[in-house]
Symmetry: C2
Subunit: 349 residues, 2 copies
């Protein structure tokens, strides 16, 4: 990409409404030197330099049966935004809160990259001490070993190119560290990745258990979209419960209250460090273009961060270099004839 | 059971050694009015009233291929302890840190209860605000819908009889709350449990997401042993990471340190409330006798709590009433001929 990066942003499904997404888009223009095509209901949205607003009032964010709905409604904001990327009018997509619809529309209009079995939703997790990338966190409820192997290579490429981790250590999430642990598919994936590591194609750290989210044992944790989806939500729930319990404790007595006041600024630092808005949300890897999926609850700052991720991914040629990593790892699907194979419906993470 | 309950305790695999388990056994005699048969290396163990020590120096806690090893070594401490329960010399088993071996030996010598497809490992999770029971957390890596249905009934019975929850709300762990979310097996289990709820056989709360561990949306959360194992370890890792970050924050400046000192007693209360030793560990449901599996890292207090769980389970006739619940729910396997079907190797949680 030469010149300024253009990012298509869908404002049609964010919990805080299109105006908040528009504020994030305007912020991103200032922070990340990008041009924005903003798709959504134009009513109440302030014009901003660098942001071109395309009125698309139909939102399908909450629709069931998305695979059908994205086909039926090319005018829906997320479908129009995806189309802009597919046509080359924009370089990447930021789907402001419409995860499920973005996945469905992305699969339908942008298509999978050549040789990729399944796109995967990758989420950079800002764990307090050891951040890591987890994928798949919801695009594929069931996977085969060769899918997991592709996730591993795509995740490693993303961690290196966008997160800046040199030679990322990739691990499989399992119920024990031994190579024989887990489902038969997971054991098979372990064998394939061990072989890839012997060829020097990947830095494979073997199996990790759920504890690994806190230990930094891996930079990239690979799993199926069901387990990954449960894992990130359990993590979020457990962190929130623990912070809530700490807050309760810090107001349980006069003494604790006084201490709580003194500790509060430092605790705010913890909260900010693990704030998911800073990461810009999840990224859909394995399509022909980059799709970034901020969480539906994100405010302007989170949307701006998502645009930053998209811009960086475009500038680093993430799509091309991910493909090169899959090729170098011998992980591309051999027979392109099967590219018309059915693709699973994505899940909202 | 009339008279004093007798609990067989295996001391052969605990991280802190047999002497620590013995201290827990002695504590349990005082606290729970039980008799103990303690199996392990007798060297260095103090005699205590109510505790009969059976010298069994062979430990197979760390052995691979446990299904074979438990058959080959009837003298191993955990196998001898299981045998005491199978023979009726003890009413229940507490396996002090030898989860995998206890599951293997339990399946081999105690056998599954009539009509039960698969035993499940159930763990009471002391979440800060809303404790709940999760199963399976590691006995079955892959399950079928009818297994999940049995887990639901067994978990409800346990929550009611041992944890004291009246009419526990049971939910399936999935990647979304809609009935259509999850793997095809999970969707099928949802249908079966919805039907059971319509008959009034169970209080079914539908699907819950990973967040539910913090919200109290369910008293019993049912899942396969792979996902459950990952989930409890992610939960443990996330809680530890968050507490660690809070500790770091509370020593990051003079001001924060002063506050930390004042809050510390209240924080200790949080830590104690979520302390897994208080719960006594996980319980293996679906065998002909009750097997309690404390965590390998537990000290005397955790072992004593595990014996307390075993005693309560025996006094409440947990095995008989769980079976009655399965029967009332129409969830027992119809053809007893298949009771010789192969049983999956349990996983160490």
């Amino acid at each position: 990409v030469t010149g300024r990066v253009t990012v298509a942003v869908d404002a049609g499904g964010a919990d805080l409404g299109p105006a908040e997404v528009a504020r994030g888009a305007a912020m991103a223009v200032r922070e990340h030197d990008v041009r924005i095509l903003l798709f959504g209901a134009a009513v109440g949205i302030e014009p901003a330099p660098g942001v071109e607003l395309i009125d698309a009032p139909r939102s399908i964010a909450k629709a069931p049966d998305l695979a059908r709905v994205v086909r039926a409604h090319p005018d829906a904001s997320v479908v129009a935004a995806v189309q802009a990327v597919a046509d080359g009018r924009a370089d990447a997509l930021v789907a402001g809160g419409t995860t499920g619809a973005a996945l469905a529309a992305g699969l339908f209009r942008i298509k999978r990259a050549p040789g990729v079995h399944r796109p995967a939703l990758a989420m950079p997790v800002p764990a307090p001490r050891h951040p890591f990338l987890m994928l798949d966190v919801g695009a594929n409820v069931e996977v085969r070993p060769e899918h997991l192997v592709q996730f591993a290579h795509m995740g490693a490429a993303y961690a290196e190119l966008v997160l800046g981790v040199a030679r990322p250590r990739v691990a499989l999430l399992s119920n024990g560290e031994e190579a024989t642990k887990g489902t038969p598919d997971l054991v098979a994936a372990h064998e394939l990745l061990s072989a890839a590591a012997e060829r020097g194609a990947i830095s494979f750290a073997g199996n990790v258990e759920g504890f690994a989210i806190a230990t930094g044992a891996a930079d990239v944790i690979v799993t199926d979209g069901f387990t990954g989806n449960v894992a990130i939500k359990v993590m979020e729930g457990a962190s929130a419960a623990m912070l809530g319990a700490v807050r309760d404790a810090a107001s349980s007595s006069m003494r604790a209250k006084a201490g709580g006041l003194l500790v509060r600024p430092a605790l705010r630092g913890v909260r900010d460090r693990v704030d998911p808005e800073r990461q810009g949300g999840a990224v859909l890897l394995g399509l022909r273009k980059l799709v970034v999926v901020p969480h539906g609850s994100f405010g302007a700052r989170g949307i701006a961060a998502a645009v930053g991720v998209a811009a960086r991914g475009v500038r680093e040629d993430l799509v091309g270099r991910t493909h090169a990593a899959l090729e170098a790892g011998g992980a591309l699907r051999r027979r392109e004839a099967s590219s018309a194979a059915p693709v699973s419906m994505p899940e909202r993470p």
